[in-house]
């Protein structure tokens, strides 16, 4: 039935049209190589407690270092080649272009590998990802920073920011609570925060020991040390889920509007880019729409805390 016209040797079909070469996306500006990280060197490791250390990273490529910018509250995916990736909040100042600081607790696969690493080791970071604390919106108001335990890690970036723009904010309070005195991190910076940044600060522990002379109890107890107008106050609350639930409802009773309280949520994350769906809270991605949420949104999220 076929005349000559139809007996096209398949070769012809294969030849031209199907030899489509994949376009080189790397050269196309609209597609990022989403899995490529910035290579960093660990330039310093500061032990903070038995379980926590501050890692100082320096992006090796000067151009990349220049390009890398973030906002307080954002996080990175930290990659230890061979061991895996973990989401970690950036704990340094946004104005510091030389180094990135990460305050990390030894918890599992990746973080344990990092604790084995020596100064000078090479790791990689992707990001920054996620939403940030609305530092601009807070201008002209009081700022209340409440951190529990490792929650001080994401709190340092807003603290540094406030220090850099101190005159733009009214009263700034930092309430910091830890389980035990030995778990209190960054004690060496307290004086600086108080004196240089003019932050009114107070600390508390749950289980005091003989060395502890300060207060003990729940972190909300510290609120009565300070006077501020709740209506004119923004709050950032970081810590374990139980803590911020408790603190936020307390602040709510004091009269701080729910949409002026900010929290940072933690979920399992495998991509940071809204694809793996591990960090879903209801219909929201912690990595794209968070980790920073105002308390009003959190209240509306299913399964948030």
């Amino acid at each position: 039935m076929h005349d000559m016209r139809f007996t096209i040797p398949g070769q012809d079909l294969n030849r031209e049209p199907f030899a489509v070469k994949i376009p080189d996306f790397q050269k196309k500006s609209e597609v990022m190589i989403t899995d490529k990280g910035y290579k960093c060197r660990i330039t310093n490791i500061v032990p903070l407690s038995d379980l926590e250390r501050l890692f100082q990273l320096r992006i090796i490529d000067p151009l990349e270092r220049e390009v890398f910018n973030f906002r307080p509250g954002q996080f990175l995916m930290l990659e230890i080649p061979g061991y895996g990736e973990s989401p970690i909040s950036i704990s340094s100042s946004t104005s510091n272009h030389e180094f990135i600081e990460l305050c990390i607790r030894k918890a599992g696969h990746v973080t344990s590998a990092l604790f084995e690493a020596r100064q000078g080791a090479f790791v990689s970071v992707r990001g920054p990802f996620g939403t940030a604390f609305p530092m601009a919106e807070m201008q002209g108001h009081n700022v209340l920073l409440i951190a529990g335990g490792l929650g001080i890690a994401p709190m340092r970036a807003p603290l540094f920011w406030i220090n850099d723009h101190r005159d733009k904010y009214r009263d700034v309070f930092l309430l910091y609570g830890a389980k035990e005195p030995s778990q209190m991190l960054f004690t060496y910076q307290f004086e600086e925060w108080k004196k240089v940044s003019h932050v009114q600060m107070s600390t508390i522990v749950e289980k005091p020991d003989e060395s502890w002379t300060g207060r003990s109890g729940m972190i909300t107890a510290l609120l009565d040390e300070f006077t501020f107008d709740p209506k004119d106050t923004y709050a950032i609350v970081c810590g374990p889920p139980v803590m911020f639930k408790f603190v936020c409802s307390h602040l709510d009773r004091l009269g701080i509007p729910m949409n002026r309280m900010f929290v940072s949520l933690e979920r399992r994350m495998h991509c940071g880019m809204g694809k793996c769906c591990r960090c879903m809270v209801g219909s929201t991605f912690t990595c794209l729409d968070g980790p920073v949420f105002d308390y009003w949104s959190v209240m509306n999220l299913k399964e948030a805390i």
Binding site: D12, F18, I22, R268, M273
Partner: protein
């Protein structure tokens, strides 16, 4: 779009020429079930005779051609206390034959998720660009409900779409590539009768759906019913086996794993399609599991496709193929779960505000 008509015989010659020279995949019968029904899957095909054009539905979807179950994201090469990261996302061209409208819609949905957000995936893009899709319509099976999801027709996302109008196929040609290939074969302008047959065929398909799911207002419903006991009721049946998500054409959640090469000279970062039904999906370091119960996890298996996620405009991503329902050994399927949910809510409404008696 260009419309043409091709005789079935000629069509076979066309497909044969394609598959003989390209890496191609089409529906093939792989088994006969204990109920006597044939079981089909998209499998490699080398000649047109290996393709079952009259197949019903494949057990697994075609998503793994775009999102492989396991995929290498990057490789680290170690040397002298340092390393280099290497990322490759090339993929060889392939031809996919026989995708149903719902299957193609599913790929379009994956396009939205993978390509239209803030972080388009180069891996997906490479595969998508290099896949030549030939779609085919079919009469629905009794449990198909793509009509309810409004995914029973498709107008983009394929290179060529064939509607069966008796002795010939009515072709919708959606790419110059497809048009160029077809030029070498005997294709004709659709006649008046052909057009009528096409309309007839469409009507026939539309009227053949037996399963209907009411999805209007479902997103809001699902939010309201987030804490409903219905989830635990169905969760108690669920084996947390993940089969539903593996066969689903739009489930795309994944896990990332990193592994050293055995010679310790490098490592690979891989992604691995996962399922929100699996027990550790939402477990974090230290062992806390945000979704400890089967019901919590099953809820997400429904919440995601029918509520939609904010990141992709809350669109419902289920296309209504019911593959999940067929694969589920515990007999959990969208129709029953959603109806149950609605029923509970509606009966609840009735008791709160009984409708006035008819007098």
């Amino acid at each position: 779009m260009i419309y043409k008509v091709i005789s079935k015989r000629e069509f076979k010659a066309f497909i044969d020429a394609l598959v003989r020279n390209n890496s191609s995949f089409g529906p093939r019968k792989v088994d006969t079930g204990s109920n006597g029904e044939p079981i089909y899957q998209f499998m490699p095909v080398k000649s047109v005779d290996e393709i079952n054009f009259d197949y019903t539905v494949t057990h697994s979807s075609a998503k793994h051609f775009f999102l492989p179950y396991r995929d290498e994201l990057s490789h680290f090469n170690f040397s002298d206390g340092n390393w280099e990261q290497e990322i490759q996302y090339e993929s060889p061209p392939i031809i996919l034959i026989g995708l149903r409208p719902c299957d193609i819609n599913a790929v379009n949905i994956l396009d939205d998720v993978m390509l239209h957000g803030a972080y388009p995936s180069p891996y997906y893009l490479a595969r998508r660009k290099n896949t030549f899709i030939i779609g085919m319509d079919h009469l629905p099976l009794p449990d198909c409900f793509c009509h309810s999801m409004n995914r029973h027709t498709v107008n983009h996302g394929f290179n060529l779409f064939c509607s069966d109008i008796g002795d010939s196929y009515y072709l919708s040609i959606n790419s110059s590539k497809a048009f160029n290939f077809l030029k070498e074969f005997r294709i004709e302008e659709p006649s008046y009768e052909d057009n009528c047959s096409l309309i007839e065929r469409r009507k026939n398909i539309k009227n053949s759906f037996e399963t209907k799911i009411e999805v209007s207002g479902l997103p809001c419903f699902l939010d309201i019913e987030f804490d409903s006991p219905i989830w635990q009721k169905w969760g108690d049946k669920c084996l947390s086996c993940g089969s539903c998500a593996m066969v689903c054409p739009t489930c795309y959640c994944y896990s990332v794993e990193e592994r050293f090469d055995v010679d310790l000279k490098g490592s690979t970062r891989q992604n691995h399609l996962y399922s929100c039904n699996l027990v550790d999906f939402a477990q974090v370091t230290g062992g806390h599991n945000f979704r400890p119960k089967n019901g919590d996890r099953l809820k997400y298996r429904y919440y995601h496709p029918y509520r939609g996620f904010a990141a992709n405009d809350n669109q419902q991503i289920c296309v209504g193929c019911n593959r999940c329902g067929r694969a589920c050994l515990a007999d959990i399927n969208p129709k029953d779960v959603i109806n149950d949910l609605r029923l509970e809510r509606e009966s609840c409404m009735i008791c709160v505000s009984p409708s006035p008696d008819k007098t």
